[in-house]
Symmetry: C2
Amino acid sequence: MNKRLLIAQGGGPTAVINQTLVGAVFEAQRQGFSEIYGARHGVRGIIDRQFIDLGRETPTRLERVAYTPSSALGSTRDKPDAAYCARILEVLKEKQIDHFFYIGGNDSADTVRLVSEAAEQSGYPLCALHLPKTVDNDLVGNDHTPGYASAARYITQTLMGADLDNRALPGVYLAVIMGRHAGFLTGAAAMARHYPDDGPHLLYLPERTFDMDRFLADVDQIYTRLGRCVVALSEGIHDASGEPIVTRLIQAEKDAHGNVQLSGTGALADLLSTTLREKLGLKRVRGDTLGYPQRSFFGCYSQVDAQEAREVGEYAVQCAMAGQRAQSIALQRVGDYAVSYTLIPLTTVAAQTRVVADDWITAAGNDVTPAFCHWLRPLLGSELPVPGHIV
Amino acid sequence: MNKRLLIAQGGGPTAVINQTLVGAVFEAQRQGFSEIYGARHGVRGIIDRQFIDLGRETPTRLERVAYTPSSALGSTRDKPDAAYCARILEVLKEKQIDHFFYIGGNDSADTVRLVSEAAEQSGYPLCALHLPKTVDNDLVGNDHTPGYASAARYITQTLMGADLDNRALPGVYLAVIMGRHAGFLTGAAAMARHYPDDGPHLLYLPERTFDMDRFLADVDQIYTRLGRCVVALSEGIHDASGEPIVTRLIQAEKDAHGNVQLSGTGALADLLSTTLREKLGLKRVRGDTLGYPQRSFFGCYSQVDAQEAREVGEYAVQCAMAGQRAQSIALQRVGDYAVSYTLIPLTTVAAQTRVVADDWITAAGNDVTPAFCHWLRPLLGSELPVPGHIV
């Protein structure tokens, strides 16, 4: 029996999403799939019939792609509805695709669900699997998701350097970090600390209401004690009504999912910097919005993350061989530290958002707990740099 | 004869400024200096008498410091005048310091000049040397300066990733890069290209007048051809009158040198993004201001840069042993590729600014030339990542 696989990548790129792609390609070849296609730009490339024959790529080239950040097939922000998914199914039938892997976040899981349902309704035998990736780590049912750890490592190394810079030229430094609803990436800033009084000194996650007066008091306290202060905060911090702090300022652009654009603007850092200068009379305040390098800087990744992302691709093929049809791959933690791969229902993941657990955020709401750091540490991989100080 | 050395670090941190510090300490120990002190926070720590006995640091600790970014002794933005330098000399006399090394940029060279003059006038025998560092590469009399190549490498890897991200999710991406008057760092973005049509597609350096209409036409042309466009530009881009573009927008903060603060704000990227949306009707425009990670990200440096920075420290001690008194260390290129170290007059470097040569910028003023890339390539060190594409 011929097996024909189509793979696509959706949503924001990560440093290791191509590992998953390449893992699936190699394992599908090993398992005797007759055709392995990639769709350009996610679901958009399916309905546009922009297919690439991945079986023609050499192993050497694919290995290089695996270690290249961003989505090698291209991605999309399209969020298909049932009608869009019916068109996807139409193309799958036309191309005689009986296996469809979509590598993406919770929206991509929802797409797989819709396509699966359409296939089932029309009696078309289709194995459709969702392969997880997201820098935000916001997928329900997973200990963590491929892509997160590499972005977390980038943030750790950035904040290590930012803290050293702030020691040399003291003042207040703000780092605005990706994360609309989930503060996992901002939490990773905590891993930059090695010694007492190392920064970042304050972390603000979108899981807690951001209170400007409280923020000012927090910074004032640290600055008074140390003569400097390093702050990490999520782009998605919001007031008690749920309104993002940044939308107080800017004409917000909305994407196809109705989400306000938070990345790619320095407005939040600038707003908070100005507020600190005006309210606390601080002279040297700097704010960086870490931006796209968090997910696509070329040359900083977690080897643990890369390996797990690869295995997700391999595992998906093995699930397909075992007759699985409409599921999401999930990562579970086994011991300290290993992972196992499993299948969970698409509805567990689809359009759901996991956030940082309550007991991973301190009572004061301005830091993560040791339990969070214990959870994160093994994901970052080995050979993290360690700063030397002159004391 | 006892030899007593004081070392200080001034201005903005770099990824390798501690290499220079550690190179000087080890070589001074080897040459039998009796005391080796470090001053906290540059010249500020001298007049505040905040000295550290560097002879007490273990080699292991110093090696770790050498590979740690930022200024381990702390830095300062103080720009001493003659009166301030007279106070510095007073402390040097009091502590019986007969060797003073100041690691810094052109302002630090000017400080060394003033202190040297004061010492000479008062008949105090002082060897005062300026040891170069700057991420901006704006020191006259040098082929390049320690610190630049590591920041350039960070920018190269950032733009490599940004271009891959922009391929996956096409639109316009702007990266605002450090550099007030000198565009060497923005030029480094060109090294991110490997294949035809790789980004960045446009580079704007402060050596050329920034014309908004021209910019819009440039972006429009690239976007029309490729459906995407990646732009790298210096924070210091300015209009024909020399007024920075960013000051059209923000209440600019000025530092002690009278310079407008350009870093640590996302205003320029936001201004240009908004203009592109409004004037060209583009939907997806993102702007990142790369910020402090350019100079202090922990884990990205050029090994060539690190080694040269170390040798600058060693060479300074050797110059002192040879009886040199008031000079600046400079790097000269020998062959392709090696460097030699030499001494140049402090007045050659002090308060001067080197900018990118005319023939290293294209006639259209929106890119660097192959000659610039040929000059830069060996500085970046080995093992730069190479992207894999699926074609």
